[in-house]
Symmetry: C2
Subunit: 373 residues, 2 copies
DNA sequence: GTTAGCAATCTAATGTGGCGACTGCTAGCA
DNA sequence: TGCTAGCAGTCGCCACATTAGATTGCTAAC
């Protein structure tokens, strides 16, 4: 059944009003603000029809209408106005991204923070899985008498590394050769392939078997959703500002969802690869025990290379036009950032040329740390 | 003014009862459960005195007494009974720590999780700052044409590393020599010292100046509280289970505190170096805007080496005997764990001997990853 | 110093009435 | 056929009063 233009206008009016005021919308409200040309009685008739059609609901007989999830879906797909960011909002975004950002990790956090600040919602950001990265080079370096570092370089510019205890008295050359050997074995494989290929070591190379297994183990651990720590939430407390979570029960359900942030990863990954993704979910629809909520995410890229997703999570009644415009604008901002040293993600390292005769340019370097026994 | 033994018993009774039921305690309650030998009228007299002394308070005239922070302090210092863990609690702890734990990071998370699960409170765990670690060795490895990895080994077994972009056409030997040079400069310094020493490069070594600066920058970033990511919270949602945060205002204040978890680090660090630390704080006492709460932490060590702190954060009315016994037991458990590869903290790497002719023993290795351009 | 008894105090729960906000319906109009 | 004005009916919400129950402080006696 088609929806007349006036019905659409009314749905838009109900959603818009409800988003802003979080109160059931009456026919008089709609007439006053959105449709002065027709009478409230006419609107009442339309409202009754739209309720039958499943777009609206009534908390009780003598109250106004509230939108159903269906209405929100129609709204975001078709009716929603495109909104420009205000000066102050642009200012906030600039404040976050104008300072020197050189680490992916930093982008992740800044993005989450700024989204949360502007939208006043809980935000989520995470770094894309790198299973598909192809291995280019593996180096093994002896760093103490009893420890070696394994460095795996991939075409995503990804380095995976692990320190492993070693027996004493192994020469540096042994590790150099071992590195060349495993490089030879894995070169060109994606991480996923490497893990599943069940490569076998020829007898002649048995001496590297332990190293080989160790490297494989590293890759395996990385090919999973091991990367829990790479999802960042900001502003969990803001959930409580939303009237729908004034009820402690619901607030708790929501906070528990946020607490188990790892569990959000599959949900986020499920979303299409479109630049923008809006998920509106009723109770338990996505996952058992998952409260009614909406998740809006966008894919982010730097210089065209996809680095991850970021967005907001909140009540279904959220200011979609604002959220979408914020995510959109931030996406563009990020894409124009100077490309961060992608080592940064793990090493927290910063791009920096180390040249033999470099000028007085700034030197930035960050790092992760690592304790070894 | 001394406190009679009966007064102490009454304080203990009030705190104990209030901890369990979160309701003002009446004289009759105390008589029934804790002091059947004396009448409620006598207890009422004592209660009035204790209120004058500042240990108890009355929400309103016709209600029972609640403990003040002072009463809690006396309770935890002197009155509190030592509690044994129940079977099921021990079981939970064992479940968490019996599986193969080899990463510091993993310990951190497991500890936080198990504490939160047993105490039903929000837990916090973080890894100790390593400013005092002494530098032993610095290695620089060229890993791609345009990237080098800087590895800093300290006596804490700490390795700090950073990837830095480099100019093309620099030989591997150059980096080896540069590594030897900076090792020579920094060897034996603590990280804090290295950062503040303002070492100067002699003209003859000018060629390493950029590398030198980069290393210094790495150390500097590490000497601060840069290590935000190393604090872990578990069970934030559990805050809402506590009746004192049934009030949305208070719940929000608390959640905002947890949201800004970096700000908790100084608070945790301020605590003494005693194995157990109980901090009971009234509104704004520690920090502006910080809600009334209690923080109980314990220092954790593996094989006698301090690795960090963990504990709970919650309302002042918390089950201290239980919390203390849990923290205590977990401390012992952790100390007996097979020593994890301390690289693990950053590399997520696992202890593993890589021997030329190793047996069929398990091989475990974990890693962090690192993207490079 | 302790206790029984009792009035006083205050909260929390329950009930009541009225107000106001909407709707749905009906009847009339273009 | 579609729109509108008018109005009765429904329901939530708020303020207020009332009641029941819990607990204390005080007094007087032991």
């Amino acid at each position: 059944m088609g929806i007349s233009s006036r019905k659409e206008k009314i749905i838009e009016a109900v959603v818009d009003s409800y988003i802003n005021r979080c109160e059931p919308v009456s026919s008089a409200d709609i007439q006053k603000t959105y449709l002065p040309a027709v009478s409230s009685a006419t609107i009442r008739n339309e409202l009754a029809t739209l309720e039958d059609m499943g777009y609206l609901a009534q908390p009780h007989t003598s109250s106004g209408r509230v939108p159903t999830a269906e209405a929100y879906r129609l709204y975001v797909e078709k009716l929603m106005p495109r909104r420009k960011l205000s000066r102050s909002e642009l200012k906030i975004i600039k404040r976050y991204f104008n300072r020197k950002i050189t680490e992916l990790d930093d982008i992740l956090k800044s993005t989450a923070k700024v989204i949360s600040e502007i939208t006043n919602l809980t935000s989520v950001a995470y770094v894309q899985n790198v299973e598909k990265a192809r291995i280019e080079n593996i180096k093994i370096v002896k760093i103490t008498d009893s420890t070696a570092l394994i460095i795996i370089v991939t075409d995503h510019g990804v380095i995976k590394d692990a320190a492993a205890n070693i027996a004493q008295n192994i020469s540096e050359e042994y590790f150099t050769r071992a590195g060349e050997f495993v490089t030879e074995v894995f070169k060109g494989c994606s991480i996923a392939q490497a893990v599943h290929s069940k490569k076998i070591i020829r007898d002649t190379r048995k001496e590297y078997e332990q190293i080989f297994k160790t490297v494989l183990k590293i890759l395996k651990n990385h090919s999973h959703e091991e990367m829990v720590s790479d999802i960042v939430l900001e502003g969990s407390a803001k959930i409580l500002e939303q009237p729908e979570y004034a009820n402690l029960q619901k607030a708790k359900a929501m906070l528990e969802l946020l607490d188990a942030k790892e569990d959000l990863i599959p949900v986020l990954q499920n979303s299409d690869d479109m630049s923008l993704n809006i998920l509106i979910s009723k109770d338990n629809e996505i996952k058992e025990g998952m409260p009614e909520c909406a998740i809006v995410t966008a894919n982010y890229a730097v210089n065209g290379i996809n680095i991850g997703k970021a967005g907001v999570i909140g009540p279904i009644r959220m200011d979609y036009p604002k959220v979408v415009s914020v995510l959109d604008y931030i996406g563009k901002t990020i894409n124009l950032l100077p490309e961060p040293d992608r080592n940064a993600k793990m090493y927290n390292a910063e791009s920096q040329s180390v040249e033999e005769n470099a000028g007085e340019g700034e030197i930035h370097a960050d790092e992760t740390e690592n304790e070894t026994q």
